[in-house]
Symmetry: C2
Subunit: 346 residues, 2 copies
Amino acid sequence: MAENLTLEDIGRLAGVSRSTVSRVINGQANVNPSVRSRVQEVIQRTGYTPNVVARSLVSGRTGVIGLVIPSRVHSLFEDPYFSRLIQGISAASNRAGNTLSLFLFQNEEEESALYPRVVTSGVLDGLILTATRMADPLLARMAVGEIPLVIVGRPDVDGISYVDVDNHGGAMLAAGHLVDLGYQRIGIVSAPTSTTAGVDRLNGFVEGLALRGMPLHPDLRADGDFSEESGYQAMRRLIPHRPDAVFAASDTMAVGALWALQEAGLRVPHDVALMGFDGLPASEKSNPALTTVRQPVTDTGARAVQMLNDLVTGAATSPVVEVFPVELVVRESCGAMLASSRPRTD
Amino acid sequence: MAENLTLEDIGRLAGVSRSTVSRVINGQANVNPSVRSRVQEVIQRTGYTPNVVARSLVSGRTGVIGLVIPSRVHSLFEDPYFSRLIQGISAASNRAGNTLSLFLFQNEEEESALYPRVVTSGVLDGLILTATRMADPLLARMAVGEIPLVIVGRPDVDGISYVDVDNHGGAMLAAGHLVDLGYQRIGIVSAPTSTTAGVDRLNGFVEGLALRGMPLHPDLRADGDFSEESGYQAMRRLIPHRPDAVFAASDTMAVGALWALQEAGLRVPHDVALMGFDGLPASEKSNPALTTVRQPVTDTGARAVQMLNDLVTGAATSPVVEVFPVELVVRESCGAMLASSRPRTD
DNA sequence: CTGAAAGCGCTAACAC
DNA sequence: GTGTTAGCGCTTTCAG
C-alpha cells in the first residue's frame, strides 16, 4: 500500500522502461502481451496510481472542472433546487472522470479576489457557472477569459454556451392550466426579475394569461426572492386582493405561500388554488400536494458537464445551447381532481 | 489579458532570469529592490499568474482539499445543515487559499471505484470527511492511507483527528430544560443510531432525564433519519402515547414533528412542548418558533479546514480533536415564556 | 544579489 | 515492440 511510486519504479520492478509502463497504463496498442501482463501485475501488486499532477503538466489538462456560485445567492443555496443541481453535476462529473471543485463566493470582494486566481491558475479545465444574475459582473469577466464556460440557466448576453429549462413555456403551461380550470382572479408570486429565470417565468405566465384574453392585474403580482419566507410574505400581500388562484414561480416559495394561506384560514384548493414550479420533493409532500411544473434538474446538471467536456476536448465549439422541456404535474392544489364544479367564482 | 505566459517569458520581458522572477513572486528576500519592482511591473502589466500545476509538481502540494460526503446520505444532503456546513468549509477554504473539491458519492460502487483514485492521485493535500456512519467502510479505508484526514463529527474509531460539537451535552441540556419546565411524559424523536451524532444525542438525552430521576419510557422514543418526513412519521407514532413534551434530535425532524402535531390538532406548546437541535434558520421561522440547541456549524467547518491545513503543513500531528460547545436557545415551543403554570399534567 | 542547471513524474516523438 | 530523449513550468541548490 506504499505510495509515491513512480513510473520509473514500476518499470524497474517489471524489468522494462518507464515508457512501456506508460503505454500499458494508457492502454496503447504496441505492447507485447506478455510484457503487458507482467507490468499490470506489478501495478496491481504495488497499488500504483499515476501522479495526476505530473500528467496534467504535460497534457495541459487536469480533469478538474469548477462549479461557481456567485455571491448574494445564499438564500438560493438553501433552496433544495441547488442541492439537487449540485448532486446532478457531481454525479455527472464523477461519471465523466472529472473532479469537481466548488467555488462559493460569499461577497463581491471574495469574488474579485479569488476569481482571477481560479481561472488563470491552470488547475481548471473549465467552469460551470450557475445562479447568474442579470448583467452579472462575473460573467462579463469570464466571457473575456479563454477558459471553457457553460452556464446553467439562460445568461442575459449572447455567445455563451448554456443549458436551461423552458421556463417561459412552463409558466405558460401554468397559466393555461389555471385558466382552463375556470379561475378568474389569477395571481403570481414571481421570482426576482434580476434573474433570467424570474423574468422568463413571469413573462411566460403573463403571455399565457394574455393568450386567453386575461391580462395579469398589477395588484395580483407580488415579488419573492426564491426563499420560502419571501413566498409567505408575497402571498400575504396578495390575499387582500382576493385571488382565486396563484402561481408561485418556485416550489419553495409556493410552500411559503401555502403557510400564508393557511394562516389566513383559506383552504387550498377550495378557496384559493396554488401552483408551484420546479417539481421538488417538497411539492409532493406538502399538504395538499402541489400542482407544479417539473424541470429536469439532474439532467440539466449532467448536460452542463457533458457540454463543458465537449468544449474542453474541442468536440464542440463555442456557443452551444440546450433547453430542456418542462412538464405540468397535476396534483391536488388546484382542484383539477375535483368535479368540474368551480369552488368559488367570487 | 493573454495567458500561457511562463516564468521564462516574464524574465525575458524584465531582462532577468526565471529564477529571479520566481524569487519575487515568492517574496524571497535576496532581490535587488529595483529589479524587484521592474519584475513586478511586468507581472502586473501582463497579468501573469503562476501555473499551479507546475508548482505543485515540484512542491508536492496542490492547495486542494477534498470534502467527501459518503453514500446513503442524500436525505441528509437535503438537510439545510449540510448546506451550511458546506458554506462554512468553503468560506474557510477560500480564506486559507485552498481550493475545495467536492466528492459526493451516490452509492457504494461509486465510493469504492472513485475513492482510491481520489486519494492516491496526488491532487489532494488532504481530506475532510463528513456524515460518517458507524463502522464506516470509507473511514476504514482512509485510516490506512497516508493522506491527512479530518472528520467532521465524532468517528467511532480512535486515532483520527476530528472536530465535533457537544452533542451529548446539548441533549442533556434539552432534557434538563424540559424537566425543569415540569413536563412529565417526555419523549424523543431520535436521530439514527447508525451515526455517532444520533447516538450521542440519544444518550445525552437519556442521561439528562435519568439525572433527574426520570427514565425514558420506551414507548416515548421513536427513531427518525434526520429527514423532515421521518420527523413527521416518528411523531405520529409518539402521539398515541400522549407525550407532553418531545425533543427532536434535529430541527429538520422537529419541523416534521410539528406538522404531525398540528395535523392531530395538538397545540404547541400548550398541548405538547417541542424542542429541536441544530439552531438552523428554520427553527426560528417555524410557528411557534422552536426552542432548540444551537451548534456552531460554520465554526465547525472552519476549524476542520484549519486543522487539516495544520496536518498538511506539519504544524500539527495526527490525532487532534476539538469539540465545540453548544447552546440552549429558548423560544416559544416549550412554553418557557409562559407563566409558571403548567399547561397540562395529564 | 543573480544566473545556470537539475529535477518533480509524466507523455510523446524519435530512434533502434 | 521497446528504450532513449526531450520537455511541460516551476522551485531550488549551487556557483559566481
